[in-house]
Amino acid sequence: MPGVAFVAHCMLNQNSKTIGGARCPGIYSPLVKVLRESGWRIEQMPCPELTFTGLNRFWAVKEQYDTSAFRRHSRKIASAVVGAIEVHVREGRDVVLVGIEGSPTMGVCITSSDPTRAGLPEWADGHDELIPGEGIFFEELRSEMKARGIAEPRVIGIEHQLPGHDKRVENRRLQTFFSK
C-alpha cells in the first residue's frame, strides 16, 4: 500500500544543486511521476548542504563535510525530518527515504570520498571519488530514527548524477521499489 516518501530536497528543486549539477530546471519528473502514479505522498527533506555552504559551494567529497559543525547542522535537520516521519509512522503509514547516489551528504549506497582533496579546486574531470557508502545526512537521519525507536525505513537512491546513468533502468528500479 502506498505510503509517504521522504525525498531529497533537490528532487523537487534542482536549483539547490551545486552549480553544474542541475539536471532539469526545477522538479525532477522521473521520480515524481512514479510517486504520483503509485499513489505515494511526497515529503521534501531540507538540503543540508544548501544551508551550510550555500548555493555557490564547490563540489565536495564526504571528508570535506565531515566536521563537527556540519554533523551538528545535519543532526538539527535530521531531528526536524524525523519529527515528521514519526507522525506518519504513528499513523501506521509506510515511510521510505529517497536519497541521491554519489552525494557526500545524501548518498544511500554510494557516496563520494577522497581523503586528500583540499585547497584550490583543480581536480580532473572524473569520478574516482565514488565509493560504496552513505552520505553524512543519511547517517545522522538513521541515528536520529534509532534514538527515537523508529524502525529503519526502506531506502532508495536516485542515480541521476552518476556516470552512465540510464533513465530507463532507473525508471524500472523506481517502479519496482514503489510498487511494493
Binding site: 530536497h9 523537487l12 528543486n13 534542482q14 536549483n15 539547490s16 544543486k17 552549480i19 553544474g20 549539477g21 542541475a22 539536471r23 532539469c24 530546471p25 526545477g26 522538479i27 519528473s29 515524481v32 504520483r36 505522498r41 511526497i42 515529503e43 521534501q44 531540507p46 538540503c47 544548501l50 544551508t51 550555500g54 548555493l55 555557490n56 563540489w59 538539527k76 535537520i77 531531528s79 526536524a80 525530518v81 519529527g83 515528521a84 514519526e86 507522525v87 574531470d125 572524473g126 569520478h127
Partner: protein, 129 residues
Amino acid sequence: MTLRDERSYRVALVADRYLNPAKGKLDAVPILLEAGWGAIQLPSDDYPSAVAGPLLEQVAEQVEEFHRRGYDAVVIGRREGLDEALEAAGVPHLDQIEPATARALQSFLSKRPTPAAKVSRRRTTTSRR
C-alpha cells in the same frame, strides 16, 4: 564531472495541499514542471506546531540563501507561521498567490521577471568566452 546545469533560478514555496492535492483539487506540480520552477514544500497543515516549526525554520533558511543570491522566489498558497519564519531569517516580503485555478497560477508564474541570478550568470559565462 561534466558541468551542464539546467537550473531555472526560480523557486516556489508551495503549500502542501498543492503538492499532495486531494482528488480533484488544484495540483501545482504539472504547472511548475511546465513552467520550469523548483518547489520548496511547506509543512502539512496536519502537523502539530512542534513538528512544523523546525521544518518552517529550514524552509526560511533555504529561501534566504536563494533570495540573497538573486533567485526568484514566490509563495503558492499559505502556511501558518511562514511569515514569521521568513522574517526571522531576514527574508523580505515575497509575492504570493492563492490560486483558484490552474490558469491563474500559470498566469502568475509567466509574469515573473527574469531572476537577477540568471542574468548575472549569463553575463559571467559570456565574458569568459
